[in-house]
Each structure stands twice: as structure tokens, then as C-alpha cells.
């Protein structure tokens, strides 16, 4: 099925909240995962016959495991504060893309089966049976949420629709109604080691090619080491960094930073992927198993530090979840985590973001830059949702905003901020996050990018911005695809370390 025809929304000078268009996106849904894909990761192959009972049973289990789900399903008062906050609603006008309405798809069934009011007076409290229609709505609209958490910033109770979406997808997977894109990728990461299915030898070839390219470009022998026992740093980066444009330019940037600072580092063929789609589908077991590859690689290689490349959700998983899932972190008292934490060098944050590493080195004066090399660029910065609202960098809250900007300003002369309300904690998702970066969802992705595109257009028109830096592999891929729909040059998106790579001086640091 080819993606249906659609019209790219117009970029307005003064963005407005759209009037509702019910069912505007009722046709938008990702491909359903096949029998084979599901079987490979332990989910039922296809929709199970007793799906209704199974789904409600699974919801009951999740309610016992996740306080967030229970509290969030109970607490919403329908105040409406979130209704104009979701980029997918703003771009599509479909009322079911308002965060509260998206939550209510699950909340209605919760009320019917788990609350007294919903059992006694279903109509009164908006309780619904889990009909096939409701199930299909779950499938459609829990796959129109990028789990970006923007709504959670604005909710008076901090209700995070991402938690509801994750629960919805987890229930769908448990009855054999999961989405192809995420589940296929999870299969690949287990089988081959990364989301793109790039086998070890191919990876080695790619890295060798990169060494040659950089040598040709700079005359310096910058290494891209893999599986080096005893290296100080294990770099875990999204696999898109190995071959996709513009991602690869940031990978070159990381390598140049390590080279210039004289830090020994390595990639791992076993853990050649920072991304963790287990989070997207809300499956704790998958989230954990995918994360454990990093632990194993770190133990095998004996590294002292673990550093994560430019990837939004991967940084959320690394920063917020790795200590819980794998013991990569500090402060543990249990044998499982201590085994690894003993090995790590706690003078450094564990794990660290590549931006933290680079910024520390800049502050120590360990890196030198030719800022003029970036003078052809007028740069703005797109905060990626998972970095902005689900993680941190540095010591103080908000470091995730300041550190990437500080790096940019250290390596480039021309920097412009996009409008307040579209950056920092209020940043808009690129429109392709959360396991939606697949072509059959192109209409959703293009429309979901609207709020960011409007903010970008302002600075393009006013300040001549021609480069939007970001630190997320999904943002980079998504923007590369959707920028042309809004008549922007697809090449104007790139990584922060792409800017670092352009300006860094190699070899003569003394």
C-alpha cells in the first residue's frame, strides 16, 4: 500500500490552534507486524482469538506494575490544558491526537473494567467496552504519539501520555497486534547487534572507509576503533551514525574529539546500537534485554567509561534507565550492579553524553577550534524531546539545554535561538520519534513536523538560518525527509558534532 496523497500544511506566520476535524487521521496506521517478526521476539504471531480478555488482563497486570499508569488513568480531570500541546494534533486537527483524548481511549476501558463508577454508570463517566473499533483506535492513535512528553510538561498533574501510549502498545503487542517497524528493528538488534542490521564485518569496512575519508580530508590519522580490549571509553551510538547522512558527520566529529584529546576509545560490534526500541513499545523485558548488551560489551572490553552518541531516546534510556536496567551508573549496593560499577571510573559521569565529554574537554582547553570554518552556517538548535524532557546533562537541571548550545557557540560564530515556547522543555518533537519513523506514516510525520517547521521558518526568514543542529538520529532522519515538503533544503539539518567536526583543529594542540 503506498502512502495516501496528502497536502502539506501551510506554514503560518502566527501559528494557530486548529479547529477539530474528527477522524482526519483515522486512516493513518503503521503496518502490522507479521507472524515471523512477532515470533522472533516472543510476541503472539497474530491477533489472538480471545484478544479482548487477554488485553484487559494485560492492562490489569500493568496497573499493578506501573504507578504512573494507575495514577495517570485516575487523575485526569479533563481540564483541557494539554489539548493544544501535541504537535500531531496541531498538525492534523484530529481530536484524538489531543493528549487527553488519546489517553481516554485507554482510560475508557480502564474505567469500565477497573473502577466502580465505570462498572455502574459507564455512560456517565465515559467508560467503554473494548470493542474491535476501540482496539483499532488504540492501534491507530497509540501509533500517532511520539512519546515526546510535551503534554506532561503542561499537565497540572504531570500526566505523561507517553506512559499511556507505552502501555497501549504493550497491550497490543501482548495480543499479537504490534507494529511492524519497531518489532522488526527489535528483532534485528537481538540478532545482529544494531537496529539497521549492519553485521560486524560490514561495520568494520565502513569504519575503515571513514578512516580513509578523514585522512584524505584532513591529512590526520583519526581512528575509528572497534572491539578494542582495554580502551578507556566505550562509545555507544545510534547505528544510523555509521552510514546515514547527515549522521555520519557527527560520528566523524566524535572520533576527532577523542583523537584531539588523546582519549583511547572503542566501538563494540556487540553493542553497535544505542537506540532501544524496547522503550517505544513499552515492554520492560525488551527494554532491559536490549540495554543488557551494553553491559555485556562493557564488561568484556573492560572499559572505564561509557559514552553515548547523539541520539534522543537512547540518551533517555542511558541516562534515566541504564542504572536501573544494567547497572551502568553509580551508587549501587547489589552485586549485579557493583560488578560493573567497580570497573567504571567514577571521576566521570556514567554514562556520559558525548556532548558532556566534548564540553568538559572544551572547558579544560583540550580542544582548539577554527570557528570561522563554520562561518558559512547560521545555526539554530532543535532540542530533541527525549533529551529535553526525559534526561539531563551536566550537574544542574537544564544542562541538557545549555551544554549543546555552549558547544555550538564554542565552534561557530553565528547562532540564533528559535522562538520561546518551541525550544528547551517546550520543544516540539520532530514528528518522527517514538517508533513512527516509517514511510507508511509519512503523512503523520509531515504534519507532525508543522510546529517545528513554523518556528524554523521564522528564523530562516528573519535571520537567514541555514543549519538546524540537533542531537538525535531520529530527528536527523525525520527532518532530512520532511524538510523538502516545507520547501526547505534537506541538507540544513545536522548534528552538533558535525559542527564540531568542521571547526576542530587536529594534531597541533600543544
Amino acid at each position: 500500500m503506498a502512502a495516501a496523497e496528502f497536502t502539506t500544511p501551510e506554514l503560518k506566520e502566527f501559528p494557530a490552534i486548529p479547529a477539530l476535524r474528527p477522524d482526519a487521521m483515522a486512516e493513518s496506521k503503521p503496518y502490522v507486524a507479521s507472524d515471523k517478526i512477532n515470533a522472533a521476539i516472543g510476541f503472539p504471531g497474530e491477533l489472538v482469538p480471545d484478544w479482548e480478555a487477554k488485553a484487559i488482563g494485560r492492562l490489569g497486570e500493568l496497573l499493578k506494575k506501573y504507578r504512573s499508569l494507575k495514577v495517570y488513568l485516575d487523575s485526569c480531570v479533563h481540564c483541557g490544558a494539554c489539548t493544544d500541546k501535541c504537535h500531531y494534533f496541531l498538525g492534523t486537527s484530529d481530536p484524538k491526537n489531543m493528549p487527553v483524548a488519546r489517553q481516554d481511549l485507554l482510560r475508557g476501558v480502564y474505567r469500565r473494567h477497573f473502577t466502580l463508577a465505570g462498572k455502574l454508570f459507564p455512560k456517565l463517566v465515559g467508560a467503554t467496552e473494548l470493542t474491535r473499533e476501540v482496539l483499532d483506535d488504540w492501534y491507530k492513535y497509540y501509533n500517532q504519539c511520539s512519546e515526546c512528553r510535551r503534554c506532561s510538561v503542561f499537565c497540572p498533574y504531570g500526566i505523561d501520555t507517553a506512559e499511556i501510549t507505552m502501555a497501549g502498545r504493550e497491550i497490543l503487542d501482548s495480543i499479537g497486534y504490534g507494529q511492524k517497524y519497531s518489532n522488526e528493528i527489535i528483532g534485528k538488534v537481538h540478532k545482529i547487534g544494531n537496529n539497521l542490521g549492519l553485521p560486524g564485518p560490514a561495520l568494520e569496512d565502513t569504519l575503515q572507509g571513514l578512516e580513509e575519508d578523514v585522512k584524505e580530508d584532513t591529512g590526520v590519522d583519526v581512528k575509528f576503533p572497534m572491539d578494542v580490549q582495554g580502551a578507556e571509553v566505550l562509545l555507544v551510538t545510534p547505528s544510523a551514525d555509521f552510514f546515514a547522512e547527515p549522521h555520519i558527520d557527527s560520528l566523524i566529529g566524535y572520533a576527532k574529539v577523542f583523537h584531539a584529546a588523546g582519549v583511547s576509545w572503542t566501538l563494540s560490534s556487540k553493542a553497535s546500537e544505542a537506540g532501544n526500541f524496547g522503550m517505544f513499545i513499552g515492554n520492560y523485558d525488551q527494554l532491559r534485554r536490549i540495554a543488557l548488551r551494553i553491559r555485556e560489551a562493557a564488561l568484556e572490553l573492560g572499559v572505564k567509561r561509557i559514552v553515548v552518541g547523539e541520539c534522543g531516546h537512547a540518551w533517555r534510556v542511558a541516562y534515566s534507565f541504564w542504572n536501573t536496567l544494567t547497572g551502568v551508573g553509580a551508587g549501587a549496593t547489589d552485586p549485579f550492579a557493583i560488578e560493573l560499577q567497580k570497573q567504571l571510573d567514577h571521576r566521570y559521569k556514567q554514562p556520559a553524553h558525548i556532548c558532556e565529554v566534548t564540553w568538559d574537554l572544551i572547558q579544560q582547553g583540550a580542544l582548539k577550534f577554527d570557528k570561522e570554518a563554520n562561518d558559512h552556517r547560521i545555526v539554530t538548535f532543535h532540542d530533541s524531546c527525549n533529551v529535553a524532557r526525559a534526561s539531563r546533562m551536566g550537574d544542574a537541571p537544564g544542562g541538557q539545554f545549555e551544554i549543546p548550545r555552549s558547544i555550538i557557540k564554542a565552534v561557530a560564530n553565528k547562532y540564533v535561538e528559535m522562538a520561546p515556547g518551541t525550544t528547551h522543555e517546550a520543544t516540539f518533537c520532530c514528528g518522527g520519534g517514538g517508533g513512527l519513523l516509517t514511510d507508511e506514516l509519512l503523512e503523520l510525520r509531515v504534519k507532525g513536523a508543522l510546529p517545528r517547521m513554523e518556528a524554523l521558518k521564522q528564523v530562516v526568514d528573519r535571520d537567514g538560518v541555514n543549519f538546524m543542529a540537533t542531537i538525535c538520529a531520529i530527528c536527523k532522519a525525520q527532518f532530512t525527509k520532511v524538510l523538502p515538503y516545507y520547501k526547505f533544503n534537506r541538507g540544513m539539518v545536522g548534528g552538533v558534532h558535525q559542527l564540531v567536526s568542521t571547526a576542530i583543529k587536529l594534531g597541533s594542540n600543544d
Binding site: L63, K65, Y72, K85, R149, V153, G158, T324, P397
Partner: protein, 243 residues
């Protein structure tokens, strides 16, 4: 003793029991359910002190709502602030002698009655006037507002239109608290007011009014941002490591 007195005595004992037991059950349930992952909405405070401050700002000032929508914030804070003053004012019906500061609150509590109803009308108006909020509103959303507005209006009615014997009302409630039932003044306005209040107490633990305890248990607001420094592990997640 009139039938009405007995009816309201029974209903207030029952309502109080349901409110207290229901809330205790829900709070215990929230407390016992683990939060397996660190999910504070960042930027978030890095320590407990900061989390307490964040929560205080959230429940006292509605900080997130302020960032979100000034209309809802204004009506919301007007209603909740006024409700608080009104509730404090009502403490005089349950204390003898009346605590000195409850005396101070009296005049504010009186005007707060109007502010409370005004806030409710504002919030209710949005349910009709704003298309997005109209779309998400359920009958119970309207009913809850009707209940609260009814309580406010019947209360104001007793103060300004048809006075009721508040000395008798106080004797009735003090009596309830001492399990010594005293006659309730026979007054239709009072009956309406008390019936609606009892109804509110009864629906509280079964309705969206659970947002009141819920906010304190919201992981995106009550967790400290310290996942790299401390290992956070839910009991069921720790089990997975034993395999």
C-alpha cells in the same frame, strides 16, 4: 428526633466512612504500586528538597497549569483557593471553642463563596465554549461542576437569602462528632446543601477528584532527577536479575 435528622446523621456517617476508607484505600494502592523507572519530567530537581518545592509550587500555585493555559489557571486557582477558604471558614461548625484563626478567616471565607462559584462558572463555560474541551467533556465532568456549583449556591443562599439556624447546625455536627445526635434545623436550603456535600464526599474516592491525592504520586513530578547517582530498582524488576 425528626426523620430528617436521622437521615442526615446516617448519611454523614456513611459519607465520612466512604470518603476516608475510599481515599485510604486509593492512597495505599498508589503507595504500594511501584514506579519501576525514573521518569521525572525534566528539567527536574536533583534532590528531595527540590522535589518538595516543586510539588509545593504545583499544588499551591498550579505551576504547570500556569505555563499551559492562563484561562484555565485563573479559573482553577480562583475555584480551588476559594474552596480552601470556604472549607476553613466551615471549621467553625466543627470546633468548640472555635480556633482563633478560624475566626480571622470568616470574612474572607464569606466572599470566597462568590469567588468559588465564579471560578466554577468560568470552568464550566469553557466546557461549552471551547470546542476542544467540549469534545473531551463527559457527562460526569458536567455533573461534578453542577454538584460543586450547587453546594456553593445553596451555601450562599443560606447566608444571603434564607437564613438558617446555624447554631442548630453546629450543634448537629458537634453532636455527630461525639456520637450524640442533636436535632438538625428543618430548612430546605440546608437539606439541599448537606445532601450535595454528602454526595461529593461519597463520589470523591471513585471519581476524577482523585486528582487531589494523585498529584502527590505522579512520578513525573515527585521523582528526583538522580538516576546516574542512585540505582532505582522496583521489587518486581529486581526479581529479573536473579535469573
Amino acid at each position: 428526633m425528626s426523620a430528617a435528622t436521622i437521615f442526615f446523621a446516617v448519611i454523614f456517617y456513611a459519607a465520612t466512612a466512604i470518603l476516608v476508607a475510599g481515599l485510604a484505600y486509593k492512597i495505599a494502592d498508589y503507595y504500594r504500586t511501584p514506579a519501576p523507572l525514573k521518569i521525572p519530567t525534566t528539567p527536574a530537581p536533583t534532590g528531595t528538597g527540590g522535589v518538595v518545592l516543586r510539588m509545593l509550587r504545583e499544588v499551591a500555585l498550579f505551576e504547570s497549569l500556569f505555563k499551559s493555559n492562563l484561562w484555565i489557571w485563573a479559573f482553577g486557582i480562583l475555584f480551588h483557593g476559594a474552596l480552601l477558604l470556604v472549607l476553613l471558614r466551615h471549621l467553625r461548625y466543627f470546633t468548640e471553642p472555635v480556633w482563633f484563626w478560624v475566626g480571622w478567616v470568616q470574612p474572607f471565607g464569606l466572599y470566597a463563596g462568590f469567588a468559588m462559584v465564579a471560578g466554577l462558572i468560568g470552568l464550566w463555560g469553557r466546557r461549552f465554549l471551547v470546542e476542544r474541551i467540549r469534545y473531551i467533556s463527559t457527562p460526569s465532568d458536567h455533573l461534578m461542576l453542577a454538584l460543586l456549583a450547587g453546594i456553593g449556591l445553596s451555601g450562599l443562599g443560606m447566608k444571603f437569602l434564607m437564613h438558617t439556624d446555624i447554631v442548630g447546625v453546629k450543634a448537629f455536627f458537634l453532636g455527630l462528632m461525639r456520637f450524640d445526635i442533636q436535632p438538625l434545623p428543618a430548612d430546605i436550603g440546608l437539606y439541599v446543601h448537606l445532601t450535595l456535600v454528602a454526595a461529593l464526599m461519597i463520589v470523591f474516592p471513585f471519581s476524577k477528584l482523585l486528582h487531589a491525592p494523585g498529584v502527590f504520586f505522579s512520578p513525573s513530578r515527585n521523582q528526583a532527577d538522580d538516576p546516574r547517582e542512585k540505582r532505582h530498582l522496583a521489587p518486581w524488576a529486581a526479581e529479573l536479575e536473579k535469573n
